[in-house]
């Protein structure tokens, strides 16, 4: 079936089996392979993309459910030579090793910082009615939907903290 998608500001008309997940549409049909498949079941976060500005697992949604939606993938955040602040910070702080979970981490962090700005509480926020402060514990909790087996978590936290504090502008 046909689905119209806006991906990184570009219009795509996708013709695919309704069973196609948004993740597989990106990887198999549109050849946007920056979005990774790590588990295909919402258990690792490698497939994180932004849909209408919000982070989701693209493996657990069908492409056809997103007709008309605006999708941002890692390719839309920055390219070598013109990296986004978070992308630059991940390089500087070595917030990755094998690199496979990295696009998902960066997409996730991009939206996560907006969630904090909007005052969303997390599991570690002391009072859910307070404006959350972006501590290391807050970053770690909010990024826990993105697994990294190379286990660069401390570096990921440092990279995100750096950008939140105004680095890499």
């Amino acid at each position: 079936m046909r689905t119209d998608l806006s991906i990184n500001g570009e219009h795509f008309s996708l013709e695919a089996d309704p069973r196609t997940t948004l993740l597989d549409a990106l990887r198999h049909h549109l050849h946007l392979t920056g979005t990774k498949k790590g588990c295909d079941h919402g258990q690792c976060g490698a497939c994180t993309v932004l849909v209408n500005g919000r982070r989701i697992n693209s493996c657990l949604t069908l492409a056809c459910m997103h007709d008309g939606d605006a999708i941002t993938t890692i390719e839309g955040l920055g390219v070598p030579g013109q990296l986004s602040p978070l992308q630059e910070a991940f390089v500087e702080f070595d917030g990755y090793q094998c690199g496979y979970c990295t696009p998902g981490q960066i997409c996730s962090a991009t939206a996560m910082l907006d969630e904090v700005k909007a005052g969303w509480p997390s599991h570690v926020t002391e009072d859910v009615n307070d404006m959350p402060k972006l501590t290391e514990a807050e970053i770690a909790e909010r990024m826990s939907g993105n697994l990294c087996r190379c286990a660069c978590y401390p570096n990921i936290v440092d990279a995100i903290m750096d950008v939140a504090e105004g680095g890499h502008k």
Partner: protein, 731 residues
């Protein structure tokens, strides 16, 4: 030309220290970083290939049996299905690291639950996945199929035994003894990129884009599995999404994709599902370990015994070398190591990050903690008293051993003296606080390696080797070695990896990649330096190369001027020699951890963790540190959450995904600190560097579990220390 170098004598020249580019050892950003953070790096399944068909493997639903029929009729009419394949060339199990020939093959003889028995190929992934669920497999079960290593009817064989002195007597006569049995569960590497391959034939020549760690061996394994000459096979793996042992050998997806692509005359992609990665690649064997320690009044060891039971499938050689570091870590003249192997129908046991030490040193370090308490000695002091002058088992000197420095420096940095000294006595609200420590040790190895270094007439450098970068930092460190040796800025160096058309390296495994391939690059660069030196008529040792210039007799000459239009192209070949055997070579370290254990629920949180490591020359402070962070995080996982669980009835893996097999998440891991004690190990290789990819896990879990004891007074001897086990001992 090729320059061959055999490493027989220690290299005391410390050449890298004499160079002028000042990049070796620095926290140099990975050159592959911008590609990785922008999603441009191409992993195995991501190459754009025309007419690509998708294959999905079909699992056996029993632990032991014979496949009688596939029941293809159920799926052959399904939309998009192209073919269903099975056969005796399908792999039963993946190859072990450096196996170099085909592993056991045959789809019809089922050895474990989850073994791939067929491949469904279809026009789309969606069609293949659906059809793979619906083959009407006809399987004749055959028994018995023991799945529990410790069950009474399981076959167990003694596969190794070594002893010196009389440990029984030492135990009987010792002032203090420890005789404890610990258990560790199976582990899965769980690299974030599932195993994947795209196979494409051009006539009788195969190109496989795969996710593998050791291409030189993988090429031979793949060719042998298919029954074709290795020269007909090319494997490409420039980016690999983690391996940790699971991608050492050729695996199901590579062989199945190649067979299918040949059969249907189209390129075929096969990607394992996450569940298949758990069920059919490899596991670290579970272990039962009995440690005996005999010590005098002062805590000095007189004897060490390490007996262990691990498992593997029938007919498989690999046994987790649990006691690999036990013979040389601590003193004691009476020693015994016994290995027993149980034959069970669980998936293949093989190398998972630091096979041997990861679980063996961990348990030894738990036992040392128990001994420290019995002797009434600071656990750090107990270890310091037992560091031998020479390898107590072989009598060989150590190439280097800075364990004492790691312990002393770590204790100071961590504030070990301020620790809680009475188990269970420090409480903040609901949380019991405790500290623990452990030593780290991992054997160091060197392997044959080749690399090409080409200096263009313009002064640009290209490095080529089939070595892989699985996240380890190969791109960075090879670039740095060439940059330092040749005085070329890294921007003008291109490091090309992961292609069997390039000179062969040993691959990524056993922490030997950087030292081995790095030495091959070093050898080639030394030769290039000699050529340049000759052209400017100075001795190579007097040649200064920096920022693309040669400096000699106060003259600064741009390299293009010296090269005069001619490139220099050298393949460096490393052959390990006598130096490797002449000394006991290992890397060392110490871990310090602080945990908070919830007095209500038994949940453990690691609050602080420090690792101090010594692994020869550190080639890149940034990537080396990250490797250690990774290893220590695996230690947290091993200590608290990770365990493969097999159903006792049919052996099937119960927690075969990332929701149920709990690797640590970001919130489980504190801002771990790592200190690297730089040193030069002249016996290791001409770089004086040693492997660091595995050291961070070799005992890390013990520091956490020892800290849990310190916090609560509860000794958990059955890994992982999940809350139920801690809770059982809490008031």
């Amino acid at each position: 030309m090729n320059i061959r170098f055999k490493f027989d004598e220690p290299d005391t020249r410390h050449r890298l220290d004499q160079m002028s580019q000042d990049i070796i050892g620095k926290a140099f950003d990975r050159p592959d970083g911008p590609m990785k953070v922008s999603g441009q790096a191409t992993y195995a399944a991501e190459w754009e290939v025309d007419r690509l068909a998708h294959g999905v493997l079909v699992r056996a639903p029993v632990a032991r049996g014979r496949l009688k029929s596939l029941g293809i009729e159920a799926v052959s009419a399904m939309d998009g299905v192209i073919a269903v394949l099975t056969g005796e060339r399908f792999l039963r199990v993946p190859a072990q690291g450096t196996e170099n020939t085909a592993p056991h093959q045959g789809a019809s003889d089922i050895y474990y639950h989850g073994q791939p028995v067929a491949l469904v190929v279809a026009e789309t992934f969606e069609a293949a996945r659906h059809a793979a669920h619906h083959l009407a497999l006809e399987i004749e079960t055959s028994g018995p199929a023991p799945v529990d290593p410790e069950a009474s009817d399981t076959v167990r064989e003694e596969t190794d035994r070594s002893s010196q002195g009389d440990l029984d007597r030492a135990m009987a006569e010792a002032a203090h003894t420890v005789d404890v049995t610990y258990r560790t569960p199976g582990h899965n590497s769980a690299a974030m990129e599932p195993h994947a391959a795209i196979a494409q034939w051009d006539g009788d020549e195969l190109t496989l884009r795969g996710a593998y760690q050791m291409l030189k061996f993988n090429r031979n394994e793949l060719a042998d599995s298919l029954g074709i000459p290795a020269e007909k096979v090319r494997i490409l793996a420039p980016y690999v999404g983690g391996g940790f042992g699971s991608k050492l050998g050729i695996s199901h997806e590579g062989v199945a994709a190649a067979l299918a692509a040949r059969e249907i005359g189209r390129p075929v992609s096969v990607v394992l599902s996450r569940q298949q990665v758990f069920e059919t690649t490899i596991r670290r064997s579970e272990s039962r370990q009995r440690i005996r320690l005999a010590a005098g009044e002062d805590g000095r060891l007189t004897g060490i015994g390490h007996e262990y039971l691990v498992s593997n499938l029938p007919e498989e050689d690999f046994a987790e070398p649990v006691a690999q570091a036990t013979p040389f870590l601590y003193a004691g003249e009476h020693r015994e190591v016994v290995e027993e192997l149980a034959r069970v129908h669980r998936l293949l046991a093989g190398s998972v990050r630091a096979p041997g030490e990861a679980i063996g040193v961990t348990v030894l370090e738990n036992a040392m903690d128990e001994l420290a308490e019995k002797v009434g000695l600071d656990p750090v002091e107990l270890r310091l008293r037992n560091i031998p002058d020479v390898d107590p088992s072989s009598g060989k000197p150590y190439s280097s051993n800075r364990l004492a420095d790691c312990l002393v420096h770590g204790a100071e940095r961590f504030g070990w003296d301020n620790r809680n000294k009475e188990p269970g006595s420090e409480r903040h609200g609901e949380w019991l606080i405790g500290q623990g420590m452990a030593s780290a040790v991992r054997v160091n190895m060197l392997a044959p390696a080749e690399a090409r270094v080409r200096l263009s007439p313009e002064g640009d450098v290209t490095i080529e080797t089939d070595m892989t970068d699985i996240g380890t930092g190969t791109y960075a460190i090879l670039t740095q070695i060439a940059s330092e040796m040749l005085g070329i800025v890294p921007d003008r160096i291109e490091t090309r990896l992961g292609d069997t058309d390039f000179p062969p390296g040993p691959g990524s495994g056993g922490s030997w990649g950087a030292a081995s391939t790095g030495t091959a690059v070093f050898i080639a660069c030394e030769e290039i330096r000699r050529r340049i030196a000759k052209r400017v008529a100075v001795a190579e040792t007097d040649l200064t190369l920096v920022d693309g210039h040669a400096i000699t007799d106060n003259r600064k000459i741009p390299l293009p001027e010296i090269l005069a239009g001619v490139a220099i192209d050298v393949v460096g070949e490393l052959e390990p020699g006598k130096a490797q055997k002449a000394r006991r070579q290992a890397t060392y370290g110490a871990y310090f951890a602080e945990v908070a254990v919830n007095a209500v629920t038994g949940e453990t949180r690691v609050r602080r963790m420090l690792g101090v490591f010594s692994a020869g020359r550190i080639l890149n402070a940034k990537t080396a540190r990250s490797q250690c962070l990774g290893g220590m995080t695996w230690g947290i996982g091993m200590a608290l959450t990770e365990a493969l669980v097999h159903d006792a009835r049919d052996g099937h893996l119960i927690n075969h995904d990332l929701a149920e097999y709990h690797i640590p998440v970001n919130a489980d891991v504190p801002q771990i600190e790592v200190d690297l004690l730089d040193e030069r190990d002249d016996w290791a290789n001409p770089l004086q560097a040693k492997g660091i990819g595995e050291l961070g896990i070799c005992g890390a879990a013990a520091s956490v579990v020892n800290a849990i004891y310190n916090a609560t007074g509860v000794r958990v001897r059955d890994y992982p220390a999940t809350l139920d086990k801690v809770l059982a001992g809490l008031p």
